[in-house]
Symmetry: C2
Subunit: 250 residues, 2 copies
């Protein structure tokens, strides 16, 4: 796993709590290799562990370095997150694009890292010039300051999506299976037969319109068989039939 996920490099993080929350965000996104450059506080303190919310494993395994250069020494591609515009001549990637870049490189066994600066100031230019690219997280330009763990979360989330191809997922229906059309139409016919006595059902043209409306209503929702049974029960109840309503054969 380690070889196929990017390292997360936190440069001079100030608060242990933020390092803990960053570990939680890493765990959320299936990342495991945390590297700390000169952390101001102890990243294995009780505060940090509590903030990590069961991701303390990442904190205990984190490696500490005296300089950014040492922290990235064994990596082959590094991207630096910044909120502000920088005047450095370097490709600026959206978080999504950077995640895809990293994922592709990792698949080719190129070791990648994602770098985050101190809470208050972000990365300085000396750190940024060590990176191959700058990551810019697309956010409201009038209010784009994120806390450290949120920046880690957003970039990590984009990476996680590349691994699972889940972002593109359209939708799945939950457990249950939509009823076969025949069963839905049988239900509609049944309902229509019960409406024969209703005023609107007596005039041919109006009847046609109402039938179409009703069928639209009951087909749109992808009803399950269970839900059809519920609807039969409702009708039964509304009609004041105490015994099970006689349903059409499915």
């Amino acid at each position: 796993m380690s070889a196929l996920t990017p390292s997360i490099i936190l440069v001079e993080p100030q608060l242990a709590e933020n390092v803990g929350m960053a570990a939680r965000a890493m765990m959320n996104c299936g990342l495991c290799d945390m590297r700390l450059v000169n952390p101001r506080e102890d990243h294995t303190s009780a505060k940090a562990v509590a903030a990590s919310s069961n991701a303390e494993e990442i904190l205990y395994n984190a490696k500490v370095y005296a300089s950014t250069e040492e922290a990235i020494a064994d990596l082959q591609w590094v991207a630096a997150t910044t909120a502000r515009h920088r005047d450095q001549t370097k490709a600026v990637l959206s978080a999504e694009f950077a995640a895809h870049e990293a994922a592709q490189k990792l698949q080719n066994n190129i070791r990648c890292g994602l770098m985050f600066g101190p809470e208050r100031t972000g990365l300085n230019n000396r750190d940024i010039c060590l990176a191959d690219a700058i990551i810019n997280i697309p956010l409201n330009p009038k209010h784009c300051s994120l806390n450290l763990s949120q920046a880690v979360l957003l970039v990590g989330y984009e990476f996680y999506k590349t691994q699972k191809d889940l972002g593109k997922e359209e939708f799945v229906t939950n457990h249950t299976t939509p009823a076969e059309k025949a069963k839905i139409l049988k239900f509609c016919s049944y309902l229509e037969s019960l409406l024969e006595d209703c005023g609107n059902f007596r005039v041919g043209e109006k009847r046609e319109k109402m039938v179409i409306n009703l069928r639209n209503i009951f087909t749109r929702g992808q009803l399950t068989e269970q839900e059809l049974n519920t609807l039969y029960g409702v009708i039964n109840h509304l009609r004041g039939t105490p015994r099970p309503v006689k349903r059409p054969e499915a």
Copy 2:
């Protein structure tokens, strides 16, 4: 703006600080309409305002409701975020897909809302059954618990990306323009001419290989003219030439 962004509905949030952080995440993502169902603490307290990090406007404008039903009364499409699997028969959308759904509906003036549950328990089934769809944020299934503001941030971020179409952005080069190829090749030729005396340059075959290597090195990085000048200066210095090196005409 308000009509074209989804409302964020926080159901029974427990801590004012979390509501403040959710406001900050909303502001990050260009969202403005916060709705609170039975918040346990005062969402305009000093704690909440501090946590909002300059997004207190959202807190002051937040509307408070006694029930989820009232909070979503005027909306036309609502999606509920859940971490756990639910047995409800409802479409489950990825955050990205849900954001696109909401963006499309909002463009057709359909009022949309995104619903988030209390910190400890998440939304209960009674709230979820009010929603048109469930949002599932794709995250490490072994560790998918997020704090409230992070859930708001991830879903809001996906919505923001639909508005800006920034997610797909490939890359932009920062301010400066890459040098014209002719200038880079002239630099290479110049360097090659300086290497004529070097051992490897004397053997034809080896020379060819080295030229290709060098040209690859200097074309890959999209050097700017300014950077070429720097390189000329470096060569100048290395050769121990105190006066400006005579460069080839560009």
